[in-house]
Assembly symmetry: C2
Homo-oligomer: 529 residues x 2
Amino acid sequence: MYLEPVLIDGEWRQSESPAGQFQAVDPATKAESKELYPVSGNDEVERACRAAGEAVAALRVVAPESIARFLEDYAAKIEDRSEALVDVAARETGLPASPRLRQVELPRTVNQLRQGAAAARDRSWCHATIDTKVNIRSKYGPLGGAVVVFGPNNFPFAFNSIAGGDFVAAIAAGNPVIGKANTGHPGTSKMLAGLALDAAAAAGLPHAMIQLIYRTPPDVGLRLVSHTGVAATGFTGSKEAGLRLKEAADKAGKPIYLEMSSTNPVFLLPGALAERLPAIARELYDSCALGAGQFCTRPGITVVLEGAQAEAFLAEAAAHFDTGIPGTLLGPGAPPRIAEGIGALVAHGASIVAGGREIDGPRYSFSNTLLRASGDAFLSHPHALQTEAFGTVNLVIVARDADQMIAIAANLEGNLTGSIYSDTSGGDDELYARVEAVLRQSVGRLLNDKMPTGVAVTPAMNHGGPFPATGHPGFTAVGIPASLMRFAALHCYDNVRPHRLPPELADKNPTGRMWRLVDGEWSQQDAAG
Amino acid sequence: MYLEPVLIDGEWRQSESPAGQFQAVDPATKAESKELYPVSGNDEVERACRAAGEAVAALRVVAPESIARFLEDYAAKIEDRSEALVDVAARETGLPASPRLRQVELPRTVNQLRQGAAAARDRSWCHATIDTKVNIRSKYGPLGGAVVVFGPNNFPFAFNSIAGGDFVAAIAAGNPVIGKANTGHPGTSKMLAGLALDAAAAAGLPHAMIQLIYRTPPDVGLRLVSHTGVAATGFTGSKEAGLRLKEAADKAGKPIYLEMSSTNPVFLLPGALAERLPAIARELYDSCALGAGQFCTRPGITVVLEGAQAEAFLAEAAAHFDTGIPGTLLGPGAPPRIAEGIGALVAHGASIVAGGREIDGPRYSFSNTLLRASGDAFLSHPHALQTEAFGTVNLVIVARDADQMIAIAANLEGNLTGSIYSDTSGGDDELYARVEAVLRQSVGRLLNDKMPTGVAVTPAMNHGGPFPATGHPGFTAVGIPASLMRFAALHCYDNVRPHRLPPELADKNPTGRMWRLVDGEWSQQDAAG
């Protein structure tokens, strides 16, 4: 029996004493892959952590330029192999090869890698701060241990543990990565890791800069995030798994950045619906259906005011949900999890307006589902009615009046996003102000007249938000250079002699362009030390 | 029986159904205060959190200028009442009124308040980031809940829960504070809170901007840091208490910033000792004895290479420890805790070179204590030999050779600081490089030829470090504006209409001077939106 190899310390190796094995599943056919992948036990995790420790030491003499070249070369290699990557990712995830994987996600992924390269080369991300009078200088630097990245099932490229946003951020900040592939797309991850390994070797990075395992038993995962050789973890996935890992990492005093769940509420104010109800209903459906509804930023809750307008909106939206073709879900676990989520909503007062059932057939699918609940029901069971159903599912909450709409906003849990649609002539502005005052505190990104799916990779992006959307409200998982800050430690140099300072903190600006906070002002000039 | 009042929702009130009472103790006479202070139960904590929630809402329309004026006015009020404050603080802590409290700590405290005011007014701290092409904008803003501050016993002003660094950072970032006074100096805290209350009212801040309780039963403290109305906690104190609070806050998904323990290792390289052994021995003693050794940054471990030089250094240092007059410790718990710490060191191979015993007498005191241990002993029991003894106590580790010195460095736990002394002609540079490579990763602030006590309040300062020195390696408790980032959430605005943006994110620069990251470059100009 041949098991696919793991990537440890710069080499593809047969897993030693694997704790089990698994296969990928093609969601479009429910067929299992012929490849078998190993479940890594504790010895393997120990070996990876030890090797990462050596990489940490070796990285001290690696220039930012080498890291930048690695990221760029890796991006080019991904483009060179894009057809093969798209093929395997489509087979493992059921996501459409085109446009989703080929024209959208793969270009975004290489763009992230290149932005990471630019950040590493530019060095401004490290917030070099120089106080010349007291000769105290500080900057952010690598954490001094491996970063473990757990990638989610829904973005085989852009959030892949070995190519996605967390990976780029950790590497660009100068840390080695131990990738824990999502078990939904091990073949995609393996192919990416192969390209990364070649690029890392060409750039002269340490052997263990990039390591890959596919799965661990739960207890080994907990040991991994709390291992002395691991400095931080990036996790994107379910709340259940995230909270287990968080508990272990917290106990060990290790930062863990989690992106766990979000219902991404959308508030539709009456003037907006009066102006453009059909367009908004269409936008909502399109956003809900993107990627078969399996986006972290998919709107899960819509809030409207009761009345004829609400009924008209529900009818219009229901028509889209009814007639839209349900997408293929990521794996066998998806339909029952959606059914479970919908069951929780219905059990607490929601009723189904469209869809609501698993679709039998050759592929994993679930009908597009629209639900409704009264504001009273929501306020009676605010927690249960924020249950996430990870598919094309939306719960419309019909508020009795503006006050109840505000109360609903006040009972929202932490979310990645919150959207408010308002009219264009200012008629909704008073209500907008009231909703925004409450909503602002519970979301990472606030949108106007726009659905939350489609996360631009741009410096001002915040793909984060208060718990339980993430584990810390001050960090973003998307947006470079801000996302690097998660994987960096603040290093201060007090009275350190000039020749011993890192170049970023020397009087001379090492690039001539790097932004540094010199004596309280941002500057690209040399410091007068 | 009269209990001193607590400050809740803008009023000094008798504690309702207090869970107990306590008195302050004058460490110089062991006399208890005539004042009785209440232990606050759960109802009081609930009331404070509810009031803080109202303050959060009210703060939405409070301009940064009001917060700045409050901080400045508060600083002026502290200066006006400095004699009374110094009197009560000296009586409650045993710290010398002069120079320590009057000439050093109080000026530092008002300086911090004024730096906080400048940061609030300047607004550059919030890292406004504007991407004009995609119209996505973000900045750091208040957390949307109260910040709880637990102040330590050793800085009655500069780290006071109601006047110190965490307080300034939380307020300047726009959050209300619930101060949990250190029970060692409740009278000082009460007097400060009175001044703060007056200044807050004059500045038009919400009633519950500043609240003060003195003590809670342990379970109520755990509920406080995990309360829905609390957004984050700043804690400075013992590792034992810090870890308990951390567990509760982590479970609730609330950031908690801890400053818990640090042995602040000092490496003395042979060239430095050859050049200036007596001066270094003097510096070490002075740094250890500052504040009776009760500084977070007091050097607790010194590492030297074995040989005649090490013996000469130990003899020279021992003379200082023997002849120096032991300071007055902060309270009745201090001597037994120091004895316990020394006991743990001795039990694991350290031997006492000077001091080592509690001093009987009218005040709380412990003899200045110097210990030594071999590098072998340290490497056999690295954890036990890093036990903190919070007083004028230093453990000199005598390493067999350079390799063992590196091994010792590699076994250090996370520390606030690490110092390396080397010769001035470059003879130590090779060894310096080896030590630094290892030490850098485990300390927040790396020093050359300088003892770690004396934490400058300057932007580049890092008073932080890896766990267990603190709870997160990316944040500092001292240094403005960086310390504000602990108490801020990242708020993104995506496609939000111009008139609804916070002023900091409008195209027009609201102050004409604020630094913003506009289209990837730091700028004080208006954005071309």
